[in-house]
Amino acid sequence: MNAAETPALALEGVRKSFGETEVLKGIDLTVAPHEVVCLIGASGSGKSTLLRCVNLIEPLDAGRVVVEGEEITAQGVDENRIRRRIGIVYQAFNLFPHMTVLRNITLAPREVLGMDRAESEERALSLLERFGLSDRRGEYPDRLSGGQQQRVAIVRALAMRPHLMLLDEVTSALDPELVAEVLNVIRELADEGMTMLIATHEMGFARDIADRVCFLEEGRILEEGPPERIFTSPENPRTRRFLSRIIAAGRL
């Protein structure tokens, strides 16, 4: 990483509790522009919570979040303005069921960016075209397959031209045969230089796509490094244990 470059995202000492349980126990993490960082870790280790804290959908208890040099946790900062730069895609798609695919995608560009209808639709259609979904533009979400819905959710986030994408286990709600179509879309984004922070259980995918892998356990980043090293010679015994369980389960 170029030290002089402003990071796309920097987390400093991020803490978050739900009631008594502390889910994030001081997370420090930096993502450089065009970098792809994968978060791995057992279920319940805090991956989703971490991503939700980045765009303040979940308010932090302590720590700072800095997006492209601008601290969004600072007092008086307009959260909505900074969220526009961060695209987030959820495991459960969360498309708006009462709107067509096209309207799902154009809603935020029109209402948030103030784009006119023609322009927003043009942008949406070219994205749909690119991801092989243009014939689905008039459908309502419940008429699409899970893979299609997830790709629409990705397009919806991309329509805001985000500088940073957060992906939360975007394939784990999908049937195995639909996983590839979604992973291919993400791979394509990575190739174009999109900065991404990805929580995933797909270790093979993480190894392929990540510039850096962070292993999260019980709310702490225990180990991070390039995928070649993390997946072949992890230093931390707990990373080793986690990966050997994954390998035993046939997922790597």
Binding site: F96, A108, V112, D142, A157, M160
Partner: protein
């Protein structure tokens, strides 16, 4: 859809069913008196159209429709405001939420007829500029709006709460403000889900317009009563009842259509 044979069977069964009912009713003791007092064609018609001495139940019923139409619109708006205020988060809005909760508790708890008395007889007695000089009908509408908004606000609130939090999270993540998320994402889904219970409340409202007569307005029920008292015949009540039923049925069918249209639209997935 019913097949040819099924249509035949259902028609035959319907005819038989009602024939049996009519025969039983006709043979019952006192049925001649009932027919005369409640179903005399002469009185049915005369009370419907009115005469020199008695008001027409039909024209009086137009007042019920008028009260209903105005109240309904005001209720839909006021109730939505109350429901939305009730779920604004943040400590700054605590007093607003408190007022909204107190409002629903108060107006759901007190019988409508008491609110009618308080507004219709109490407010004019206060000698306020403007507010003490409204018509009986206006006081009636105000009372109906106050009471029904409390119920309808709760219906809206149930709808808002039934929309999963992840919908709001998705909207906010796209940069929409809290208000935009409510307006474009949460409320449209919430309202769709509560159309059937809303209709129920409106059928109740349509019937309760009759209570406005306690303030002196001659609406259908009151007109029927006047007729009954002067002619010693109750066909006027039957006429008024029929009018109320006639208007609630289209309301019910209209809602069915809305629901069906919504379903069809989503299933058809028509091209944009």
């Amino acid at each position: 859809m019913l097949g040819g044979r099924a249509v035949l069977v259902s028609s035959a069964s319907t005819v038989l069913f009602f024939t049996v009912i009519v025969v039983i009713v006709a043979l019952a003791p006192g049925s001649g008196l009932v027919a005369e007092r409640f179903f005399s064609p002469f009185h049915l018609w005369r009370s419907l159209v009115g005469s020199e001495s008695e008001p027409s139940v039909l024209s009086a019923f137009l007042l019920n429709v008028y009260i209903f139409a105005i109240s309904e619109v005001l209720i839909l708006i006021l109730a939505l405001v109350i429901a939305v205020v009730r779920q604004i988060p943040g400590p700054v809005f605590f007093p607003f939420r408190m007022v909204a909760v107190a409002y629903t508790d108060l107006f759901r708890g007190v019988p409508l007829i008491l609110i009618l008395y308080i507004i219709g007889f109490g407010v004019p007695g206060l000698g306020l500029a403007f507010f003490s000089y409204l018509s009986d009908i206006t006081y009636g509408i105000i009372a109906l709006v106050l009471v029904y908004s409390a119920y309808v606000a709760e219906v809206y609130r149930a709808g808002i709460e039934s929309v999963h939090e992840s919908q709001n999270a998705a909207a906010r993540s796209l940069g929409l403000s809290r208000w935009q998320s409510l307006r474009f994402v949460i409320l449209p889904q919430a309202v769709r889900r509560v159309i059937p219970p809303l209709l129920n409340d409106f059928i109740g409202l349509q019937k309760d317009t009759a209570l406005v007569s306690v303030l002196g307005s001659i609406e259908a029920a009151r007109a029927a009563q006047i007729y009954g008292a002067s002619q010693f015949n109750y066909a006027s009540y039957v006429v008024a009842a029929a009018l109320f039923i006639l208007i609630t049925i289209p309301l019910a069918r209209f809602t069915d259509r809305l629901i069906a249209r919504d379903k069809r639209r989503r299933e058809a997935g028509a091209l944009a």
